[in-house]
């Protein structure tokens, strides 16, 4: 029968069935019994890893005064898988004081993988960031009713004084690229974005700890895995001590009020930065927490560019302060004799039809009075004689020798300060001129001798020049941090960088700077009790001249070298000298005399009207529309606020009293329970922009 042959096929079919099941049994056996890996993976799934965040390191000034500390804040986290459709939304929204719409939108945003790339239904996702203490306690009471919602304790940065925003920097939530660069970070973590917070991120952040909790099938926590054997305690971040002097910094920011520019002060012996003011500045507290994005945007469109750290990013012509370095070069190269080289200057430098103007003073003169009177003619001749000196062969080689001197003084390259964003400035070499001019000679480049033309320095570099002179020929790479967790910085911040200038040449320059203070352009800087060396600068630019001062004191045991740079301030003696001398006095004496305090207040209120009518840069013109819009909005807000202010004044006084009480508590070391963003009434350094509305009335008074 035909079927009989086919009946054998049942064996084939049974064989297939048996074969499949046997293969599956073998696979089951390997999965479940042979291998331990899957059990481990399953364990990790059943674990609840509780991350414990370390406290970020505190930051103090050189005298141990607390500048930056931490304050507890609470994030609300959600595990979608547990939360969805299991909570009473109305009740939840009331507990957190949010609208139902916001709740729905937030939940959708979390689930949207475009907005939240790391989304998983099974892990904690950030629902609400940094809720205040009161909200936290209200929410915590009702927590048991909201399965799937958790509270993550974090800390936010808080600032004791509204100063040094540019130096201290700020924190923000990590970006996707931060996470990719360093797998230490997880979404929702915070990372330093600017200043010290960024540069010392790894020291400040510490190491996250983890508690491994066991969960059973009901999701209940069953205690620590292996009695906590694998738990890790968080390692707190290291505290930083800065070279910064908080009082000096605060004074500097006051003095620079209403002006654009920068002050940098350096301790010559150590290279520690004593103060670094960039004006306009802002309150670092405005960059905390949920307000950060909005405030940063406001500042980014501000034409005064408050976010720019002019002290290290502003590249300015150094003006006459540069002449000190020139003098060192000419004297060391012996192309100018300190005593016998007398160069004429009758109202300037006249040679072969070229004219560089100068003011009235006796002529001819040698290097010391030339520095004292800040004679342009002298230094033009000085550079001319150097570049045309036959010992170099040709002008190109001579210029490159000159350039090497400049570079050895820290110009033209980044000094390597320990905060990010430093610019290198500009020192031309012969190749640069070959490119730019084609054919050139000593006269075509003569303006670099007086710190004009192609030369650009950052205020930090100018201050460093002061430190180099104070040290008689070397500098130490400037740095804002003095110790990390009690330990000094690496060796590169202690090493002496010797310039090519000779000690004798520096001595002559110091004499010149002393002369400048004694009876020359810097005579406004005289103070009893210590001797001061200084040099003014009046840097020409397209608009009004910049006012510059560079100096150090005391002359024989230098404690401070300083650079003051006020944009469009006019003569160096107008803004540079008084601000510089007040700063030096504050630091050397620790306080200002009564007269000088009055002087400081006067300086504080002498604002420069930039008006931003100056020839606009390209970037400005791009921004101008948005600025106009912002200004219009601001004006209307201001009007409304002024009305409100009168009513609130009474209330404000009361609050002040409270604040003071709170401060006392802080000093006693009680827990700091302030909300993340404090609206305070402390006097803060106001930026130029904030002052604008008041200007008219002030002018009337003046």
């Amino acid at each position: 029968m035909k079927d009989f042959h086919l009946e054998k096929r049942r064996l084939v079919l049974s064989g297939i069935a048996v074969g499949i099941i046997v293969i599956y049994l073998v696979r089951l056996f390997t999965l479940q019994i042979m291998s331990d890996d899957y059990r481990k993976s399953a364990d990790s799934n059943a674990f609840l890893k509780k991350i414990e965040f370390p406290s970020r390191g505190n930051i103090t000034d050189r005298n141990g005064k607390l500048l930056v500390y931490n304050q507890p804040a609470y994030d609300i986290m959600v595990v979608m898988n547990e939360a969805e459709n299991r909570i009473d939304t109305t009740d939840f929204c009331r507990a957190l004081n949010i609208t139902k719409q916001y709740f729905v939108q937030r939940m959708n945003d979390i689930k949207d993988r475009n907005k939240n790339p790391g989304y998983s239904r099974f892990t904690q996702q950030l629902f609400l960031r940094q809720i205040s203490d009161t909200q936290f306690s209200a929410f915590q009471e009702k927590m048991f009713r909201f399965p799937g919602f958790y509270i993550q304790r974090r800390s936010v940065r808080q600032y004791n004084m509204p100063i040094a925003a540019h130096v201290l920097g700020d924190l923000a939530e990590v970006s996707q690229s931060d996470i990719e660069d360093d797998n230490y970070y997880q979404p929702g973590d915070y990372i330093g974005k600017q200043g010290i917070e960024k540069a010392y991120e790894k020291d400040l952040r510490g190491v996250k700890g983890v508690q491994i909790m066991l969960r059973d099938a009901h999701g209940r926590i069953k205690g620590h895995y292996q009695n906590g054997e694998y738990d890790q305690k968080p390692v707190p971040g290291k505290d930083l001590k800065l070279g910064l002097d908080a009082k000096l910094q605060a004074l500097g920011e006051k003095l620079m009020e209403g002006k654009l520019g920068a002050i940098v002060a350096i301790e010559p012996k150590t290279g520690e930065v004593l103060c670094m003011v960039s004006s306009p500045t802002y309150d670092p507290r405005s960059m905390i927490g949920r307000m950060r994005g909005k405030n940063q945007h406001m500042m980014a469109i501000d034409p005064a560019k408050p976010l720019l750290n002019r002290a290290i990013m502003g590249q300015y012509p150094p003006g006459s302060t540069f002449k000190t370095g020139q003098a060192v070069t000419y004297l060391t190269e012996h192309t100018t004799d300190p005593i016998h080289s007398l160069y004429p200057c009758h109202g300037g430098f006249y040679f072969k039809g070229l004219h560089v103007g100068c003011h009235f003073h006796p002529s001819p003169l040698s290097v010391v009075p030339a520095l004292g009177t800040s004679c342009n003619g002298f230094f033009c001749w000085g550079l001319y004689y150097m570049l045309t000196n036959p010992k170099y062969g040709n002008v190109e080689k001579a210029l490159d020798v000159w350039r090497d001197y400049m570079v050895s003084m820290g110009f033209g390259y980044k000094l390597g300060i320990d905060i990010p964003g430093e610019k290198r400035g500009m020192i031309p070499n012969s190749a640069f001129y070959d490119n730019a001019f084609g054919k050139w000679n000593a006269l075509s480049v003569i303006s670099i001798s007086i710190g004009q033309g192609e030369v650009n320095l950052t205020p930090l570099q100018i201050a460093n020049l002061g430190a180099t002179i104070a040290n008689r020929g070397y500098y130490i790479t400037p740095h804002v941090v003095s110790t990390v967790g009690g330990k000094p910085l690496p060796a590169k911040f202690h090493q002496r960088h010797y310039t090519k200038g000779s000690r004798a040449a520096y001595q002559w320059v110091i004499e010149g700077m002393k002369a400048s203070v004694a009876g020359g352009t810097s005579h406004g800087a005289v103070h009893p009790g210590y001797q001061l060396a200084g040099k003014t600068g009046t840097a020409q630019n397209r608009g009004r001249d910049h006012s510059v001062f560079m100096g150090f004191a005391p002359v024989d045991t230098p404690k401070i070298a300083i650079c003051v740079y006020v944009e469009n301030g006019g003569f160096g003696a107008v803004y540079g000298v008084p601000i510089g001398s007040l700063m030096i006095e504050q630091y050397v004496n620790g306080k200002l005399t009564r007269n000088d305090s009055i002087m400081a207040v006067t300086m504080q209120h002498r604002h420069i009207d930039y008006g931003f009518d100056r020839p606009m840069t390209h970037a400005d013109s791009l921004r101008v529309d948005s600025i106009k819009r912002v200004m219009a909005v601001k004006d209307s807000i201001r009007k409304a606020e002024e009305d409100k202010l009168a009513k609130e004044r009474a209330a404000a006084d009361e609050q002040k009293a409270k604040e003071e009480q709170k401060k006392k508590e802080e000093k006693q070391g009680k827990p700091l329970n302030d909300p993340a963003v404090i609206e305070d009434n402390e006097p803060k350094v106001e930026t130029e922009r904030e002052h604008k509305p008041k200007r008219d009335s002030e002018k009337d008074r003046e």
Binding site: K2, L6, E7, R9, R10, V12, L13, S14, I16, A17, V18, I20, I21, I23, Y24, L25, R27, L28, F29, L31, Q32, I33, S35, D37, Y38, R39, S41, A42, D43, N45, A46, N81, S120, R121, F122, P147, R215, D216, A217, H218, G219, R220
Partner: protein, 491 residues
């Protein structure tokens, strides 16, 4: 038929009913319900019998299934024979109408919503198709070797498949491929089955190792192995269909010798792509087969040649199909299966998590309702397609092996019962049932174990859901009813 014979009939059913199958069925139902409990249980729930939970609902499905099974056993066995085409026609119409169903659930239109009930007609079409197939093939004079007869038998399977693909339930449609086992039993040439298996091997090996290079030569391992397999399979076919052992040996010797020679040349002298050599060799082999076929007039040579040509054409078009014809999610699933995309958080997430869940079960499992993996919802679709995870995690190797062996026992028992049918109708239907169960277990457990593609089809009696449970119950109990009537002598 007098009332007394009818009564005898009923008693006869109870006696001749296959109680082994009933026992396995009940055991699977109980284990299945426990798994649904474990999989759908969320912590905080206290009532596994409550109708608001899936485990509670599953009790209703199980209860109604048993009632359904009982009703079927009470029916006259000739009912199915008589009305098989009517049942098939009605369900085919329903399947066709479902294509235009406005309710879409997870991108599929296969669900019919009738008030509180949601039914998947595709689950019921299986027994209807099996009945129609049994009816057709048991008609007098049906011969599967006749193209016309085979064509109509194939059409009966194809029609519901097309409708189900139209509902975007490709997975359910693939189940109908299991009818091939029945065709094989009923006389379909074994070479067809072998060819199908060979195609699967080409596809998997060729795609998976396409981008792996053979040592230092610019040769794709995938292509190399597939072309070598084509030559081996071809010579194997010469062995079994021409019975010329000498020729087979010569062909194999030449194939291996020449391949090895060029391989060494490419490896040590001048690197080049050996695939070209292999293609030339295959072309030579095919030419030789055609020449032999024409000169000896032995048609098998030509068929073997056709197999070789088809193999190569299939392999080269497979890549094209994978990249241009399949939909992205299907492509991803195939890639994941072949281990091309190893991405635990992406498309392979389900499989990876289910492997973890099963692996964590160990020998004895974590105990009823104590699985952490499935409880904490790490495994998606855990109470439907991925339910076997729960078995693996909570019952361990012992439990899951027992479940697999129960399924094996059921399938073997069904085959045994099919063979004892006095009529072809019962045998064909029985093999259809066995094939459907085998296919479901093969694909579903295979995907949970990471061995077969992730195709969303349920595990019989385990996966949560009324439609599939009812469908499988009807499928099984109709056969039990037919089987129970085997000893009845009719006029």
């Amino acid at each position: 038929m007098s009332p007394s014979t009818r009564k005898d009939d009923q008693q006869g059913i109870l006696q001749s009913l296959d109680w082994w199958t009933i026992g396995i069925y009940i055991a699977l139902l109980v284990l299945g319900w426990m798994s649904v409990c474990g999989a759908s249980y969320t912590y905080g729930d206290t009532e596994i019998f409550s109708l608001s939970t899936r485990s509670g609902m599953q009790i209703i499905w199980i209860g109604t299934s048993i009632v359904l099974g009982f009703i079927i056993l009470m029916m006259d066995d000739r009912f199915f024979d008589t009305f098989s085409y009517v049942i098939y026609g009605a369900l085919l119409l329903l399947l066709f109408l479902t294509i235009f169903n406005p309710h879409e659930i997870k991108g599929s239109r296969s669900w019919l919503v009738l008030g509180p009930l949601r039914l998947q007609p595709a689950e019921f079409a299986k027994f209807a198709t099996a009945l129609a197939e049994a009816k057709l093939m048991s008609t007098y004079g049906f011969d599967i070797h006749r193209w016309k007869d085979f064509g109509s038998a194939a059409l009966i399977v194809l029609l519901p498949m097309i409708c189900i693909v139209g509902q975007r339930e490709t997975g359910s449609a693939l189940v109908y491929l299991s009818f091939a086992l029945m065709f094989y039993r009923e006389g379909m040439p074994g070479s067809v089955l072998f060819t199908a298996v060979a195609m699967v091997i080409y596809f998997v090996v060729g795609i998976k190792y396409e981008n792996v290079m053979l040592w230092d030569t610019p040769t794709s391992v995938g292509k190399f192995v597939v072309l070598l397999l084509v030559q081996i399979f071809t010579s194997g076919m010469i062995w079994s269909y021409v019975k010329d052992k000498r020729m087979t040996r010569i062909i194999l010797t030449y194939s291996f010798g020449i391949t090895l020679g060029f391989l060494l040349f490419s490896e040590f002298v001048i690197p080049f792509d050996i695939v070209w050599v292999q293609l030339i060799m295959c072309a030579g082999l095919i030419g030789f087969l055609i020449y032999q076929g024409l000169s000896t007039r032995f048609i098998n040579y030509l068929y073997i040649g056709l197999f070789a040509v088809g193999s190569i054409m299939f392999f080269y078009s497979a890549d094209f199909v994978l990249n241009d014809v399949l939909e992205p999610h299907q492509r991803v699933r195939i890639n994941v299966l072949l281990g091309l995309d190893d991405d635990p958080a992406g498309a392979g997430y389900n499989v990876h998590q289910s492997e973890i869940a099963i692996g964590s079960g160990g020998l004895r499992g974590k105990g009823f309702l104590n699985g952490t993996q499935t409880k904490l919802k790490f495994v998606p679709e855990q109470d439907t397609d991925f339910i076997f995870c729960t078995v693996g995690e909570e019952e361990g190797f012992l439990g899951s092996a027992a479940v697999l062996l129960l399924f094996l026992a059921l399938i073997l028992r069904l085959m045994y019962m099919s063979e004892r049918q006095p009529f072809k109708f019962g045998r064909v239907y029985g093999y259809c049932v066995a094939g459907v169960f085998l296919f479901h277990v093969f694909i579903n457990v295979g995907m949970v174990l990471g061995l077969t593609p992730v195709i969303g089809i349920p595990l019989p009696f385990f996966s949560y859901g009324g439609s599939s449970l009812w469908g499988f119950t009807i499928l099984l109990f109709i056969f039990l009813r037919i089987d129970a009537g085997r000893n009845l002598i009719r006029q």
